[in-house]
Symmetry: C2
Subunit: 355 residues, 2 copies
């Protein structure tokens, strides 16, 4: 089992170090190899996703990813910016299925912006399509408008698109995930305005007929953004496109108030996957040893489950995280009165001890 370890920028190195510590404490044999990615790779090699890093990622069974990005790269041309690394990995490895759980841990209910009764016990799984949609659609660029409101004016444009097999495969992922949960899928679209999402809705409905045991609900994206705030627990599995998924998965994570706890997985059709925390590189707190490593540690657990076929080890990690929370250990982002504030490494050590 080979794991590519790509810590990236900002707090990435610190939090990935803790996840690696936890993986090493398991009695499993992995080969782990690290490489630079994002701004760190740009600084060293002039590109956020150097050939050598991409090669390592392709050859690995799974990628443990930290985070990329820093204000200091903002002035670079888009193809050289850190976030291109993550887009490049998704595209090159065909990581079309993004799993973004939004879970509210019992002990952290108070961290949420929402009233406790609305958020306690939240457990949603957002499944975002990750290699299609307007993220990668061609053509795109700048040109002179030939029609529209201002013919002759300079304009920029992008192409939203989904093909039938792209929608089918993510639909199957969602329905199969729902079978292991409460058998309910909410497909989010904007079929009332977009051709792409009318097609999305049609294909979802078709695929849904192969899963008569799973209830399929369709919801417009604007309504979904509202219902997530109003009654998040009414959702179970949510499936949507790349762009809407970007927005809704972040909204849902933030509802919990503890985004520092939320892992994610991005899989291709051979279950090769990239695992990363749902939060970003937080350059403002980088190097201070105070970042929360739990989202990354829980991402490592997802990696064991989905790509490395080690369910028991995944559960051991998850149970250990529950245990350190029960012990009252908290990094700054989830700290509240009466709990014990710890740093990044202390938290990692506590998880290892709790394994």
């Amino acid at each position: 089992m080979k794991i590519a370890v790509l810590p990236g920028d900002g707090i990435g190195t610190e939090i990935v170090a803790e996840a690696v510590k936890v993986l090493q404490a398991l009695d499993l044999k992995f080969e782990m190899e690290s490489a630079l990615v994002g701004g760190a790779a740009y600084d060293a090699h002039g590109h956020p996703l150097p050939e050598s890093t991409l090669k390592l990622a392709k050859e690995a069974d799974a990628i443990l990813f930290g985070a990329v990005g820093d204000w200091k790269y903002d002035k670079l041309d888009r193809p050289l910016r850190p976030e291109q690394a993550i887009l490049g990995l998704r595209k090159n490895l065909g990581l079309f299925a993004n799993f973004r759980p939004a879970i509210c841990y019992e002990q952290l209910v108070g961290a949420s912006s929402l009233k406790p009764e609305l958020i306690a016990g939240l457990d949603i799984l957002i499944i975002r399509e990750l290699t299609g949609d307007i993220y990668f659609g061609q053509p795109r660029g700048r040109r002179v408008a030939t029609d529209g409101h201002f013919p002759g004016a300079e304009e920029a444009f992008d192409t939203m698109r989904y093909s039938r097999p792209e929608i089918e495969r993510i639909a199957h992922v969602a329905f199969q995930a729902a079978r292991k949960r409460s058998k309910k899928v909410t497909s989010v679209d904007k079929a009332n305005v977009l051709e792409t999402f009318q097609f999305w809705k049609d294909v979802m409905t078709e695929v849904g007929q192969q899963y008569p045991d799973v209830e399929l609900q369709h919801m417009y994206v604007d309504n979904a953004a509202m219902q997530l705030v109003k009654a998040p627990k009414a959702f179970d599995v949510v499936v949507t496109g790349n762009m809407f998924g970007d927005i809704l998965s972040d909204e849902a994570s933030m509802l919990t108030g503890s985004i520092g706890m939320l892992p994610s997985a991005s899989l291709n059709s051979s279950n090769q996957g990239l695992y990363e925390p749902s939060h970003g590189s937080a350059p403002d707190i980088a190097g201070k040893g105070i970042a929360n490593p739990l989202a990354t540690i829980l991402s490592a657990a997802m990696m064991l489950r989905f790509s490395l076929n080690q369910e028991a080890a995944a559960q051991r990690i998850e149970a250990a995280v529950q245990k350190v929370l029960a012990q009252g250990l908290r990094t700054g982002d989830i700290y509240s009165e009466g709990t014990t504030k710890v740093g990044t490494a202390q938290m990692g050590d506590a998880v290892v001890k709790a394994l």
Copy 2:
């Protein structure tokens, strides 16, 4: 002053009737003329936006709009569905500037999903571009894919686009609105992925230089969806494109917990405008006399302010709404223990009395 009154479907007729009552109680001279729109127009004339309705709307100084839509029209072809009426009005009248205030009324803080301290005093203005973007961009449709992940497969596609003058004019609207408020604009984009929104960001920055007294902040749409949940009061004026604005304005409205209170305005460059509540047609409670008419009544106030140049009358209505809230009158959607539950017409009558 001519007002086109388009009640539409569902609760539309009931809530618009109350707003008309309030307008008639002012000592102002309006000509008001009603017409069918949405499903009601489809039933009567076979089209959601009949020529006669469009003509009336075009000739009026302002349009008082209720809401459109009902499940029973879901099976119609897209061009005949009720929501095409609203898209058609926006397009034909060039209503490019949508104002969506998200205000949390002191007495209604408890209705929010959010903790009181996070939401009390909220007063955000979301300005959504309303005639461009992927809503109207051509080409769009279905075809056989010639490239992408599955060449040869059936696909659907849409075009996102913005031209320089389209971005400039909505930027000016936002900066000018900010000058009358706290002089801070947050422009929401996805410049890290989309050509359209890199251009949006560039043009916003350029226009911003003409408003050195207004602070301009740029934020990615996924982050904006999070920050709205985390700390909504950190925003003041938010400006964004049609698609992102659809999602974020609904999210922001729902944060208040009292979407039944929120008006909206959609203006063109001659200040002709369409005024409608932020909520929908709520077919489930239509005809029961229980819908909240206040969002529509407050939309009529916005109409007086923006299109009819009657600031004093607008303020009279807004003060009257504050007064009925202070009196403890509540429709079902905003009812809480200790207040007095009233129906749609009673609420309208109370506002008239409070004028």
